[in-house]
Amino acid sequence: MRVQVVREILSANDQIAQANQRLLDENGILAVNLMASPGAGKTSLILATIAATRGRARLGVIEGDLASRIDADRVAREKVPVVQINTGGGCHLDAPQVSRALESLPLEQLDILLIENVGNLVCPANFRLGAHRAVVIASVPEGDDKPFKYPGIFAGADAVVLNKTDLLPYIAFDLARFRRGLQAVNPKAPLLSLSCASGQGLPAWVDWLLGQFKPR
């Protein structure tokens, strides 16, 4: 006998993600899920964003890593509320982990919550956290073919950041090819090219981020 089921396999995660988003909404917080490969500059972008938004928005940060408190300690030095999640080998953050992290943050004091996912261009795309926006950070040394090779994560992005543009003169990176790849998998997402090292392009990213917060 065949029994019709039609149940999402990740529905337990998705339900907790929805609860996370409700809690964030109640506190008027915009949450952004930052996804990238290891070393693309997720933490650097968070630090640069903290500096650039001081006095304009109150930031909080969730750091996801397999192990260590290195990233959380870097953020804490900026006097910003931060929670470190260690996944103990897990390749992505999931909604229950974020739910526990939210309990440790002063939600009533935050405007924007940046969630740094585990460095990985595959699995984070499949697990909703309850964030309002998904941002993928690519970087020049990774190569211009990443949207073609990891279409899933780029397809789900609300914006794509291309970091380390200060290295463009030294690395064979074809910006037109990168744009073509992004256009093929996700024509709607704006591409924000910047360098956390030089600061070039950062204002456009900050404007985009604050622009997402404003209409809420």
């Binding site: 019709q4 149940r7 073609f148 899933g152 397809a155 093929a184």
Partner: protein, 118 residues
């Protein structure tokens, strides 16, 4: 690496649904998986065989129905399948040549049905 928790969810869904119809045994679980869902069939089967031991779903066959990614053309509104390898050549709508394309399927991931013995 997330195939293990995923397989636990698949088993839990199958056992719940089987209990709901008072079935004694689950003989097959029919899954729908988009090609963009980054799930490896063999590894799900491997974990399933291990996890389902001593449950009414032991020995059940996992049938994967793969769904290719599909694009919608923003100009003529037609849907069409494509192969991932074609992305790099720069895709255009096969119906009107339009290039404003949007991905509409390929991330499906659900249990469609189960086959049970009463």
């Amino acid at each position: 690496m997330h195939e293990l928790p995923v397989t636990e969810n698949i088993l839990a869904i199958a056992l719940e649904e089987a209990a709901r119809v008072h079935a004694s045994k689950v003989t097959a679980i029919n899954l729908v998986v988009g090609d963009m869902a980054s799930i490896v069939d063999d590894s799900v089967q491997f974990y399933f065989d291990f996890l389902s031991k001593d449950t009414p779903a032991a020995g059940a066959a996992l049938n994967f129905r793969r769904v290719p990614p599909q694009l919608r053309c923003g100009e003529c509104d037609q849907h069409f399948d494509f192969r991932m390898e074609e992305l790099e050549q720069g895709l255009a709508c096969p119906h009107c040549g339009g290039s404003r394309l949007e991905m509409v399927s390929g991330t499906e991931f659900y249990v469609e049905s189960i086959d049970v013995d009463e």
